[in-house]
């Protein structure tokens, strides 16, 4: 972590927040933390767009924030991001452009999966024994105004990730014209649907032992429940919920000293957590009240360091592929060969670590399309890879992986894809390298029977020699190798040669 001052601006559904932190020898000191309530979510969640009036208001607020950047002279080290209230608005690009012309601020819309990943890192760093909980089975619920994100972990792997458009404000808006005495029933139904979706798609629910709650809803819960530790019990949730669920928000507001907005959203918040706990048969959840701006500061200032990220991503992708009955024996063999090719041929390919990770993911995913249909399975694999939405894997990587998977068969050619023809030459080169190695690795287990056990690679001046030790003659592998090594030649200018060594000869 570099020393210096860093600023973060988050345009959320109910408020705009800013945090300015100074880092000195890896220690953080918060210089300023500002919150200005503005319910942008009201517009987006109800009308689908942000009104010009709200955009003007936002610009006024942000121009004050921009002055702070002047004050600390940190125009070079700030990050401004926005979440679902802007992401889901039809006129998001106008909004961002408008703000930019009025304030010079560059606002980035972060992807849902990226948002989840940042929040996950925040929670992981905030909760003690996080890894132990994850090992034992953990559900993390991020409830903010705009969305409810659920992430289920088993060890290092997510078995379920999804973002539901059921944030507390959104729930309130959806049902606000229903009589307040029975409005809670609508919340209950809405959540029932979400829970049934989770149940349908996650087979490991019964093994979940812990729940962690976070998101902007937590501060409100703390305010009304006043827990003594960082745990909120289902008993406390239920008792408060049953007391206030039919009361009108104005009385809640005066009784519990809440703002009008807070008193509107407290009921769905209480019920969401209570229903989650009930589904899992647990008596309470731990909470993390580290704020999203704080998490953003930590993330963008690179204070959070995930160890062996690439390995984690790969494990995640392997777990994901199981859903599509992936032939893991084959996938792992291809992965193994690709790894060998990568390390032995470094002098030729000069690929980066990141490109290696793309290669690895492509090795795992290249055949998942079989689940949809055997005809044109590479296209189905591409489709599946393209739809991956795993926190921590950004869109660019997914695009590369999907493209590599598509071209793993001779049937598909880069030259015939219009979309790629217009891509920059560097991108195509990276892709070609990855595909060349993937195709060789795949061909070495063409029969999916692991006939070739291992390979040795020798690189001399004008030869790349692959010696494969096999249990019996790998006819299909030899043939496929011949066909699929063309890409290698076309990319690196040399034909690899395959020699077979029978093991018991």
């Amino acid at each position: 972590m570099k020393n210096g001052i860093f600023g973060i601006i988050n345009v959320g559904s109910s408020a705009i927040r800013m945090q300015i932190s100074e880092f000195k020898n890896s220690k953080e000191r918060i210089l300023e933390s500002i919150v200005t309530p503005i319910a942008l979510g009201l517009d987006t969640f109800e009308k689908g767009y942000i009104s010009l009036e709200k955009a003007k208001e936002t610009a006024q607020i942000l121009s004050k924030y921009a002055q702070k950047l002047d004050e600390y002279n940190i125009w070079g080290s700030y990050k401004a991001i926005c979440t679902s209230a802007i992401r889901d608005a039809q006129n998001k690009y106008f909004f961002i452009n408008y703000i930019n012309t009025k304030t010079q601020l560059d606002i980035e819309i972060i992807e849902e999966s990226q948002e989840m990943y940042i929040k996950y890192l925040g929670v992981k760093n905030d909760i003690r024994n996080f890894d132990k909980f994850a090992q034992e089975g953990l559900l993390i619920a991020y409830l903010s105004s705009g969305s409810l994100s659920i992430s289920i972990k088993e060890g290092e792997v997510d078995t379920f990730d999804s973002v539901f458009k059921a944030g507390s404000l959104r729930q309130y808006l959806l049902f606000k014209d229903i009589d307040k005495a029975i409005r809670y029933k609508a919340y209950e139904e809405q959540l029932g649907k979400i829970l049934s979706t989770i149940k349908q798609n996650c087979s490991t629910l019964s093994s979940i032992k812990h729940v962690i709650g976070c998101g902007s809803s937590i501060n409100l819960l703390i305010k009304v429940i006043k827990p003594k530790t960082n745990k909120i019990t289902i008993k406390a949730l239920n008792s408060l919920y049953n007391t206030i669920k039919s009361i009108d928000p104005q009385s809640i507001s005066s009784q519990y000293n809440l703002s009008p907005n807070e008193s509107n959203i407290i009921v769905p918040i209480l019920y969401t957590f209570s229903a989650l706990l009930k589904m899992l048969n647990l008596d309470g959840f731990l909470f993390s009240n580290s704020s999203f701006p704080q998490q953003l500061v930590n993330f963008y200032s690179k204070k959070f360091k995930e160890k062996s990220v690439n390995k984690k991503i790969l494990n995640q992708v392997i777990a994901y592929s199981k859903k599509y009955n992936n032939d893991l024996k084959h996938a792992k063999k291809v992965l193994y060969f690709a790894d060998k090719l990568y390390s032995e041929l470094k002098s030729i390919h000069s690929m980066t670590q990141k490109e290696k990770m793309i290669l690895d993911c492509a090795c795992v995913l290249h055949d998942v399309g079989y689940y949809i249909g055997i005809n044109n399975h590479h296209q189905h694999s591409y489709y599946i890879a393209k739809s991956i939405n795993i926190p921590g894997i950004d869109k660019e990587i997914i695009d590369y992986v999907a493209a590599s998977v598509l071209f793993h068969r001779n049937k598909a050619k880069i030259e015939s894809e219009d979309e790629l023809l217009s891509a920059p030459i560097e991108k195509i080169l990276v892709l070609k390298k990855i595909i060349a190695l993937l195709k060789i690795a795949d061909s070495l287990d063409a029969s999916h029977m692991q006939i070739i056990e291992d390979i040795d690679i020798n690189v001399s001046e004008n030869e790349v020699k692959i010696t494969a030790s096999a249990l019996k003659i790998p006819f299909l592998e030899e043939l496929t190798f011949k066909n699929k090594s063309v890409d290698f030649l076309e990319t690196f200018g040399i034909t690899p040669k395959l020699y077979i060594k029978l093991k018991y000869e």
Binding site: G192, S196, Y370, I372, N375, S387
Partner: protein
């Protein structure tokens, strides 16, 4: 879901041991584990007359693996049957006793007739044979079971000695076989078939692993989808294949694309049996599908615990059960799908006059109603788009290619934006079809909205149509805020088409 038991069936044949574990559902089942080991018990029995010690050891090992799978999948009902090899082995009693003692699995030796019956059940499940005469043959390792059915009614069944391993042992001693051996075998096959009474089938359905392998070889040779569930193989292909196979060594047969190595030596006898049958009845091809005996056994076992399938009830409908099966492949919520289907039916009946739809158009709506959510298997966001992709790329038995694309399009529009110029796939339909898609989708949207909570609260709808408006009354004994709200949010397409204002109450 857990109210329906998990059932395991084990089929101990002469060529392989197969295990299938299924989660039973309301009117269908979902395979959760399919395990097969090519273990040729028959090789030992048909040459020695009993199961020798070495083979028995291997057999127990296989049973152990199967037993573990049964436990891991928590199957509560286990049904195991043995066919020809166990029938013929002189020491099968002891073997069965040992299995019972060690693993608690009861193996029942079934007669050829019973075998034929299970197979027939599976054919009924997979093909619409109500109106035709069908000859079903299951070619196993030790025997072949033949069933004749007239207009879907079982007429007669035979158990013959035409098992492909048995034929190979009796006749094909040389590699490649001598001309005289081929003739002797052909003669034996024809004599055996001569015992079948006069019958004129319209269709031949063949099952068993070896026939399946032949079909897969054919599909691969034609670059067709080898994984498709039901396949058709023309007689000309079988004839050519016989001509090739009879002249080459088993080792060379193994090199033919698609050949399962462990079956290489018994493909020729299987080809000759099926060819003789086609020749006998002058039929130019046969149908096959995967998992004959297993499927029948599973259906029979489920029947015994009181679950009946759509094809067995009066309104037997093959298309319908295949749709459910496809839904299950992608983990759909059966209850929601059926509820939307029922509501669609009720809306369709009352709106078809206004919308100028024909009775037969309902088939498309029905299929879309069942499949509209399968895209959630890929990801929740944009799941309508994924449903479209999956339907387009799946086999929908009973629908033409064009109908399938229409079903995919209707499913696409079950949520989200209305059909417009940016939907390329939609623009590719002729105007008339576009109209139909729009109309059916407008019904599906409302039906889906009416089961928003996925709890089947709305049981019926009453539609009253007036000059300027359509009123839809949702009938339910529960609170249905969510449903009413959601249905109203999705009425836009119907309003646009009918140019009437729609209200759902």
């Amino acid at each position: 879901m857990s109210e329906y038991p998990i059932v395991a069936v084990i089929d101990i044949g002469s060529n392989s041991i197969r295990l299938q574990i299924a989660q039973s559902l309301e009117k269908s089942y979902r395979i959760i584990q399919d395990y097969r080991e090519i273990f040729r018990l028959g090789d030992c029995v048909f040459s020695k007359g009993y199961i020798d010690e070495q083979t028995a050891e291997l057999f127990y090992k296989n049973i152990e693996v199967i037993n573990n799978l049964i436990h891991n999948n928590k199957a509560t009902i286990v049904k195991a049957v043995g066919t020809a090899a166990l029938r013929d082995a002189s020491n099968s009693k002891e073997i069965i006793e040992t299995v019972k003692q060690h693993y608690g699995i009861d193996i029942e030796i079934i007669s050829g007739k019973q075998e034929a019956y299970f197979n027939y059940l599976a054919v009924l499940y997979n093909f619409d044979i109500k109106d035709i005469n069908t000859l079903t043959i299951d070619i196993g390792g030790g025997s072949s079971e033949i069933v004749l059915s007239e207009q879907g009614e079982l007429k007669d069944s035979y158990s013959t000695l035409l098992g492909c391993s048995r034929l190979k042992y009796e006749f094909l001693k040389k590699d490649p076989p001598a001309q005289s051996e081929i003739y002797a075998m052909k003669d034996f096959i024809e004599k055996t078939l001569g015992n079948i009474e006069d019958f004129q089938p319209d269709t031949i359905v063949g099952t068993g692993g070896t026939l399946n392998n032949i079909a897969a070889m054919y599909y691969i040779s034609q670059n067709k989808k080898a994984s498709s569930y039901a396949k058709y193989v023309p007689r000309s292909y079988v004839k050519n294949l016989i001509n090739t196979l009879r002249r080459i060594k088993v080792d060379d047969i193994k090199k033919i694309k698609g050949v399962e190595e462990k079956r290489a030596d018994i493909i020729l006898p299987a080809c000759m049996v099926i060819e003789s049958i086609m020749s006998l009845y002058s039929i130019e091809g046969f149908y096959t599908f995967m998992g004959g005996l297993r499927t029948g056994l599973l259906i029979d076992t489920l029947n015994k615990i009181g679950l009946a399938f759509p094809f067995q009830t009066l309104d037997s409908d093959l298309k319908f059960s295949r749709l459910i099966e496809l839904g299950n492949k992608f983990n759909f919520e059966e209850q929601h799908a059926l509820c939307v289907k029922n509501l669609s039916k009720k809306l369709f009946e009352q709106l078809k006059g206004t919308l100028k739809l024909k009775e037969k158009d309902f088939a498309l709506l029905e299929a879309s109603a069942i499949l509209h959510d399968i895209g959630t298997y890929i990801s929740f966001s944009k799941h309508n788009m994924h449903s479209h992709y999956l339907i387009t790329n799946s086999d929908l038995t009973g629908f033409s290619f064009k109908q399938k694309n229409m079903i995919a399009a209707i499913s696409y529009f079950h949520r989200g934006g209305l059909p417009n110029k940016s939907h390329e796939f939609y623009q590719s339909f002729p105007k008339k079809k576009q109209e139909k898609i729009k109309k059916l989708a407008s019904i599906l949207r409302i039906a889906d909205g009416l089961d928003r909570s996925h709890r089947s609260f709305v049981k019926d709808v009453k539609v009253s149509i007036e000059k300027d408006n359509i009123k839809i009354i949702a009938i339910s004994s529960e609170d249905t805020f969510l449903e009413i709200k959601a249905a109203n949010a999705k009425k836009n397409l119907l309003e646009k088409i009918t140019k009437k204002s729609v209200s759902i109450i």
